[in-house]
């Protein structure tokens, strides 16, 4: 017999009702308040931009951030595909099935009660249930962390203009890292203004096909200023950030220096026969919100 509970330590218990409330709050908050790191990113680009049209466009984007906050309105009309990243720490007790139901219920309530535009449809009939929910949506990613008695829920309303800027290629080892770099540069050129630059270009390198694209999404939605944990990946980030910003695409694809806030890279080990690369792009309205549950209560942030 193995022990099913650890004696002596009271686990953090999170009730589904609290998760539903948090999911609702986070979806609305994410749509309205841009994270501090993205605001700082705008200030940095505004300071370095040399093109007059680009500077005007950046100024409009910065003005919009203020208008949204003052008028308590959405930053962008695209409420996106709702994504929830759930990070379960150690010694946390949660009913996983109830958690999934609660996230969907909170998402639907935000959509109906705010109201938000439901941007989610059946992929074949194109039927919209007006709940921002559907089969396998919200997208829920669950991972486990070493944080003691902490459950963190991160909400990302992923805009579609930039999500349509998603590309995967199963390169081969003989193509080398040069082909990975070429792929990123060429996809940024291909995406042009369609992905609402300045963007965060998320790049996945390695893994399987599905993991590679997931890495690109993690990279695209990471806070500005964060670095790839892998040293080689981090080096690629700097090189590729300089490269894409030398293309002259600029804000909204209308020319300028500010094509991307940054290129972010995430890596995973891969197969001896494989060299996969994926690009997933985040638009300038790089929205996130998070709720962290601990024994002390709930902390709302980005």
């Amino acid at each position: 017999m193995t022990l099913m509970t650890k004696p002596g330590v009271e686990p953090l218990r999170v009730e589904p009702e609290a998760i539903e409330e948090a999911a609702k709050l986070l979806y609305i908050r994410a749509c309205k308040i841009l994270p501090d790191d993205i605001k700082a990113g705008f200030a940095r680009l505004d300071g370095s931009e040399t093109d007059a049209t680009a500077k005007t466009i950046l100024a409009t984007m910065i003005e919009n951030i203020g208008v949204a906050e003052r008028m308590d309105n959405l930053l962008c009309q695209d409420t996106g595909i709702p994504i929830f990243n759930v990070f379960v720490g150690r010694n946390v007790q949660v009913d996983g099935w109830a958690l999934k139901q609660a996230i969907a219920a909170g998402t639907a309530r935000a959509t109906r009660e705010h109201p938000l535009r439901s941007s989610v449809v059946h992929p074949i009939t194109r039927q919209n249930e007006h709940t921002s929910c559907g089969e396998r949506v919200p997208v829920i990613n669950i991972d486990f962390t070493d944080a003691e008695r902490e459950l963190r829920i991160e909400m990302i309303p992923k805009g579609s203009g930039s999500e349509n800027g998603s590309f995967l290629q199963m390169l081969i080892p003989a193509d080398g890292v040069a082909a990975v770099k070429r792929f990123v540069v060429d996809r940024v050129i291909q995406a042009g203004g369609k992905v609402c630059p300045p963007t965060i270009v998320g790049v996945g390198v390695g893994g399987t096909s599905d993991l590679c694209m997931h890495l690109a999404k993690i990279a695209a939605t990471r806070p500005l200023g964060s670095r790839c944990a892998d040293k080689e990946g981090e080096r690629l980030e700097q090189e590729l950030s300089d490269a894409v910003n030398a293309l002259g695409i600029g804000p909204q694809g209308l020319g300028g220096d500010s094509t991307a806030f940054a290129v972010h890279v995430e890596t995973a080990a891969t197969h001896i026969t494989m060299n996969p690369v994926a690009v997933n792009i985040q638009c300038h309205s790089a929205r996130r919100a998070s709720a962290t549950f601990t024994p002390d209560g709930i902390r709302i942030g980005f």
Partner: protein
């Protein structure tokens, strides 16, 4: 670079006066249109009750709140957040929108392609760029959602907005073959080789 204030609708002569790089502010009326709207209008043969002749359409699907129909509000909606979506997906609808419905101006983000540029030249039209993702600001230019058609497609219905000071918008594609996107894309293609060489990836 000229700034134009255009109370909608306008004539062919007026739209041909716009040049890439000019700025425009629209007044009075603007129609909201989207992927599903145009798929139903042009692929499935549905017709709208609105007269779009000489008008501007914006590539959008708004966030709306249901209200009572009253006075000049025939839609039963008020705007929560109205912003502009990526135009490129709707490229193939530019010419039919102009030929069949008489639309003169398309407002969007990210630009349209060669086919649209040809249609603007042949028929007299222009593409005006709004700053995408700046929807809270754009919403302040919308006075009312006056009317709606094809509303079974909600939120991708055809909307009639009453606007005030909608702009400034940038003339990004004009009726004389001018396209800021084509210029920027050609420049990016030109710079590509040097960028790849610096990466050791040429």
């Amino acid at each position: 670079m000229t700034h134009h204030v255009l109370p909608m609708p306008i004539t062919e002569a007026q739209v041909r006066e716009l040049r890439a790089g000019d700025t425009v502010t629209l007044e009075e009326t603007l129609f909201g249109i989207r992927d599903a709207t145009q798929i139903h209008m042009f692929d499935r043969g549905r017709r709208t009750k609105f007269d779009l002749n000489g008008h501007a359409v914006v590539h959008t699907a708004p966030n709306l709140r249901k209200v009572e129909r009253s006075g000049t509000n025939h839609s039963g909606y008020e705007a929560v957040c109205v912003g502009t979506t990526t135009s490129d997906r709707m490229e193939r609808f530019t010419r039919p929108l102009m030929e069949r419905e008489g639309v003169r101006i398309i407002i969007g983000k990210g630009g349209l392609r060669e086919g649209s540029l040809d249609a603007f030249r042949d028929l007299g039209g222009a593409y005006l760029a709004v700053v995408g993702g700046a929807a809270a600001l754009e919403t302040t230019w919308i006075e009312a959602v006056e009317d709606v058609d094809l509303d079974d497609l909600n939120p991708e219905s055809l909307y009639k907005f009453r606007i005030k000071g909608f702009g400034p918008l940038l003339v990004a594609m004009d009726a004389h073959g001018g396209s800021l996107y084509a210029t920027v894309n050609a420049e990016a293609a030109r710079r590509r080789q040097a960028v790849l060489e610096k990466l050791g990836a040429a």
